[in-house]
């Protein structure tokens, strides 16, 4: 369960929120010549990015407001939240990776063990 920082109410448990899928999908204006494929892109197709994504949350049990958040779908690390209409904050998403290229903390079994341990790594 995540801690979601509602831009209006502050940090709350995920159980108070509804998830609304990928953020920043613009609903296309009606056009008579819009193709089925264009429309389907809006209704059905998703980036489903493996990496940092912007996603929608709604504070269902609290203020009822929709807002967006940035999260890595690799690690589930949360980078921040922002209001509808605002630009996503710039975040430093350079995450430590293993030699195999998998990010630390991802679900891949290759990264439960790290090969090298430098002093001070063990926190």
């Amino acid at each position: 369960m995540f801690i979601i920082k509602c831009p209006y109410c502050g940090e709350r448990d995920q159980s108070e929120f509804t998830h609304g899928g990928e953020a920043h999908i613009d609903r296309p204006e009606w056009r008579d010549d819009m193709t089925d494929a264009e429309w389907s892109d809006f209704v059905f197709l998703r980036h489903n990015e493996k990496g940092v994504i912007a996603e929608r949350w709604m504070h269902a049990a609290g203020c009822g407001k929709w807002f967006n958040g940035l999260r890595s779908t690799i690690t589930d690390e949360i980078y921040g939240f922002y209001k509808i209409g605002e630009k996503p904050p710039k975040v430093d998403t350079a995450e430590p990776a293993t030699p195999a290229g998998e990010l630390l903390g991802s679900g891949n079994d290759a990264v439960k063990v790290v090969a090298e341990l430098s002093e001070g790594d063990a926190k």
């Binding site: 197709l45 980036h47 990015e49 493996k50 779908t73 690690t75 589930d76």
Partner: protein, 417 residues
Amino acid sequence: MRNYSVMNLLKQGLKGHKDWEPAWGLSTTPKDSYDAVIIGGGGHGLATAYYMAKEHGMTNIAVIEKGWIGGGNAGRNTTIIRSNYLYDESAAIYDHALDLWKTLGRELNYNIMMSHRGVLNVAHDEGEARTIKRRVEANRLNGIEAEWLDAKQVKEFCPLVNISPDVRYPIVGGSLQRSGGSNRHDAVVWAFARAAHQLGVDIVQQCEVTGFKIEGGQITGLSTTKGDIKTPKVASVVAGHSSVMAKMADLKLPIESHPLQALVSEPVKPIMPCVLMSNQVHVYVSQSDKGGMVIGAGIDPYCSYSQRGGFNIIEEQMAAVMELFPMMSRLRMVRQWGGIVDVCPDASPLITKTPVKGFYINAGWGTGGWKATPGSGHVFADLVANDEPNDIAAPFTMERFATGKLVAEHGAAAVAH
């Protein structure tokens, strides 16, 4: 020693088992080129390879797996197998799979512990009952074994379940597919790998596909963490990672990857004779041959590739178990885990060509693709070999999302396992 049998087991027993060969060979690096490359060593990918080799004579092919085979959803699923889906299109493919399951162990010479112990889907109110009855009747007319049971009959089939009318969500009845059941998921993966290997297929583990070579709209090869491979045909069967593959070919899919969790209790002596699923009291329960209650439920609401989900889902799942099986509270959860399920908006899969020639996708099985494994591999092999979907695969193209011809299986698939 290759062939598995009681006789050979006895012989090897006396020899300290020293002659058993590596089940699926020891390829550690891919060759420079193949006639086709299958990405993803899950159940579906390996089945695809097996049927390509067996039925289409394509033996110069490889399965490329980024981790260990069966480490994706194949290794995480609760193995509920049934074919009682609503629409003709789904019924056809799932029942095709169920038919193959029945003799698969023998065909592959590997005991996959296919147990046709019966799957119950219970209903808790009139609306649910109506939906289930509709499905049962559609199944019957499609020649798929299914029946409607009233609450008493549900209890007879699964004596453990609570059918008392004064619980919050009383059971009013349910559907039963007697030929449904479960099997040993890892064994299926290993069996397909072994059989494919014996037909000449290379199975390469710890090798991640990182990009495609596309020339003039035609796929010509791919790059991996173990070097480049030339090939005119690439079949992506990577379940949760399908969008990642698609992106490498500049495509977007109607798929979202969600965590789906499951858990198993400590082993106890057999008490649960069948698989029982409830949509409204969102949970499903079966008992593994080892004795653990294998319990699953719904997806986490967000997208993630982390193979983990929230504990709240597990908590709700357990409350649901108690509603159905109030004697289970003293059993203990020994392990929980998560997979990455590729969810399509209509709860039906994609078995499809793509705008890139030679690039095929099999994905979108979401929370319920295990049951389809052999059927999916079988028809997908056909598509990859012939560049045309056969009748069973045809409804599952990507175009359906533009035309609107969806195969909406939410009703059948809601706790879709």
